[in-house]
Amino acid sequence: MPHRLGPMQTLPSPMRRFKENETVDYCIVGVGSAGGVLVQRLARAGFRVVGLEAGPFWDTEKDWVSDEKGSYELYWNDLRITGGTHPLALGANNSGKGVGGGSVHWAAFAPRFHPSDFRVYSEDGVGVDWPMSYWDLKPYYELLEREIPVAGPAWFPWGDPHGHPYGPHPLGGVGDVLVRGCTNLGIRSVAGGPVAILSASHGDRPHCIYRGFCIQGCKVGAKASTLITHVPDAISHGAEIRAHAMASRVSLREDGRVDGVFYFDREGKEHFQRSRAVIVSGYAIETPRLLLNSACPGHRHGLANSSGTLGKYLMAQAGDVVAGRFEELIRLYKAPPAHALSEEFYETDPRRGFARGFAVQTVGPLPVAFAKQMVAAIGAWGWGMRRVMMDYNHWATLGVLGEILPWEENRVELAEEKDRHGLPVAKVTFTLHDNDKKLIEFGKNKVMEIMWAAGAKQVVQESRFAHLVGASRMGSDPSTSVVDKFGRTHDIPNLFVCDGSILPTQGSANPGLTIQALAARTADYLIKQGDNIFFSNRRDLTEPGIRYDLSPPYTKFKGNPRIA
């Protein structure tokens, strides 16, 4: 049987296998949202590329199920320690494992960041500015919106207004609640996206069937993950994806350049992949963990950590879920969880008494997730739990997605505990600050107001967090950041970080699209620099210019409509 990626797509076969002692050009650690794009771009450009992935290489027909509990293996379930005053839930909440990484279980909301997100210090005096502007990233937003591709309204009115290459999805019951509530309060909303789910078939991927199991891995192949959008093309162009390969240490040569990655295979045997450059794409916890675990003489506090900021400025977004009970049936399990939103409160409004803002989005918890929300929101147990769950079909759920600022004390460190390979696990510390608390309070009350305005008879809320970014942040100043604007570490010329961990701030947009756009931009930079990356210590910060000829198939002739 061929390796299946959805009902129509198969994995290119055979996949190239590099020999044990072969040197590759790029070893990429983590084949998730960023790693998948990087592997594909670099392979297409002719580089010899290996992607090391700690988890499995999914055969979606065999491995994935339409079932909440049965989707356990999609997440990073290994031990991590979480603490601080507002400890983050990890695992299924925000951490993927396996080819495609978090893009396998994201809900696939794909809004862009706003231009203001790149200059929050200049505009609001909080956080930090990015070493690049929205306009540097915009062409990559447009390109990735065509590649993955994004369905949504023809006119998205917030930030830099734009349209989407695929049409919006039909409205589900929860989306209807969001639009109704917002409309009754005079708040603008959009429906049917922006979401990286197909509203029409695309190459060998069918369109959405509205079954609601988006975050359990899309068996349909309609929801984008790099597993199906970029990895097949990478393999067609000679990349190797090595699954069940848990990186343990990046190896540093005496001349201050890295020369490969040590990793453990499925059986626990250690190997070394020699490479001319290394890109770490392990996301906001495993990336700093790997670099901290790679400490060596000259880099006592971790690789690329001369600034002391590695692991710091970790961010999660406020993700409070507001649930409303309606007289009429909603059946929130139908339609993608992600399908309507408002960014009316995204930008700073001085009258609110805090900096930055939040988005309002649909969420669609299936029964187990909804029951957990009822434990947290109303303390349901026993007969109360049975009763509230019998009304499951009467509830609608909306989420706050709020910007929490980067704070030095919110961080990833190494814990005392070790994993099965003997590697120290990550310890994550998270605490909210004054601006964050005010923003959350306002956001949650606003979304409750929207829920009431939609006609709910009862409105409750659960405090929680969504997404993870930061902890290896980019910046122009090597003393306050880990990487430059192309993801190159300030300390080591052929060591890069490219994933959500390089984000200096996070806006109120789901980070997936931005992470992939940044990866495509870093890839263009690496390709333009060519052999300089492997032999030169000179840092060239000129923009590479976007390459439109490196996209996966089916991207050409798609447009980003703009109806102004």
Partner: protein, 250 residues
């Protein structure tokens, strides 16, 4: 067999020996399994048919925890052949030491947490009522459990100084509801569509049923008179916010 306590219909009469509680009489997700793809059909069918032996807990620990689970996720209204296994699923998780991806820094490892909690609950029962927890009346069992739910163990027990009671409660609830609401009989109870690939849904708005789903037929019922676990009118959210690692909603 553990102690029972029955809810009752608003129109009178105990709710017991039901093959399908809830408001969707005649709705069956399993009746749709021919429309599911193979991997899901195999998994869900196995869930319904399998019986798991208790391997992690001792007999005494299992007996106590069974009594706890019967109150935390009561099924007294369900007929014997249609009760949903919970304890055995939890036991399997701990036997395999399957984690949920993280541990709070103030919590012991999951396996140890359950053993400590079992010890604490038994000690609380002995101190307060001079009886073993499984032998207590339903009401007395719930008095103890409600005090854990409220984060104010009554009587106090030194174990809750080593392990935050609200975190243990959240983990216990998460394990129980994961077992219960991942079972197709619970999907029938709440009218959830269940697996829907490759068929999908066509009636997305207005809460309308698919041709193979059922419309709701509501009926009023009350929790058992001796129960403390009914929803409270102004139930405030717990102070500690989200306690769970549930799937990313955004």
């Amino acid at each position: 067999m553990s102690r029972k306590s029955f809810p009752y219909k608003a129109t009178g009469g105990e709710q017991r020996d039901l093959s399908q509680p809830g408001y969707y009489a005649g709705y069956s997700t399993m009746a749709q399994k021919k429309n599911w793809e193979e991997a899901t059909r195999t998994l869900v069918t196995k869930r319904v048919e399998q019986t798991l032996a208790i391997r992690f807990f001792s007999q005494e620990q299992a007996a106590l925890l069974a009594a706890v689970v019967d109150r935390v996720m009561p099924q007294d209204d369900r007929t014997e052949g249609r009760t949903i296994p919970i304890l055995s699923i939890l036991d399997e998780r701990l036997h395999k030491n399957s984690l949920n991806g993280f541990r709070y820094e103030d919590m012991p490892p999951d396996q140890e947490a359950y053993k400590l909690a079992i010890q604490a609950i038994e000690e609380m029962a002995q101190e307060r009522f001079r009886e073993s927890f499984p032998d207590l009346s339903v009401h007395r069992q719930e008095l103890i459990l409600k005090s854990l739910h409220d984060g104010k163990p009554e009587p106090e027990n030194s174990i809750w100084q080593r392990m935050p009671v609200h975190r243990f409660w959240a983990m216990l609830m998460e394990d129980c509801i994961t077992a219960y609401y991942s079972h197709p009989w619970a999907w029938d109870e709440i009218g959830f569509g269940g697996p829907a690939y490759p068929r999908g849904y066509m009636r997305l708005e207005n809460g309308l049923p698919e041709p193979w789903e059922k419309d709701e037929q509501r009926s009023e019922w009350n929790a058992p008179v001796d129960s403390l676990s009914e929803l409270e009118e102004d139930s405030a959210p717990p102070e500690h916010g989200s306690l769970h690692g549930h799937g990313g909603s955004h």
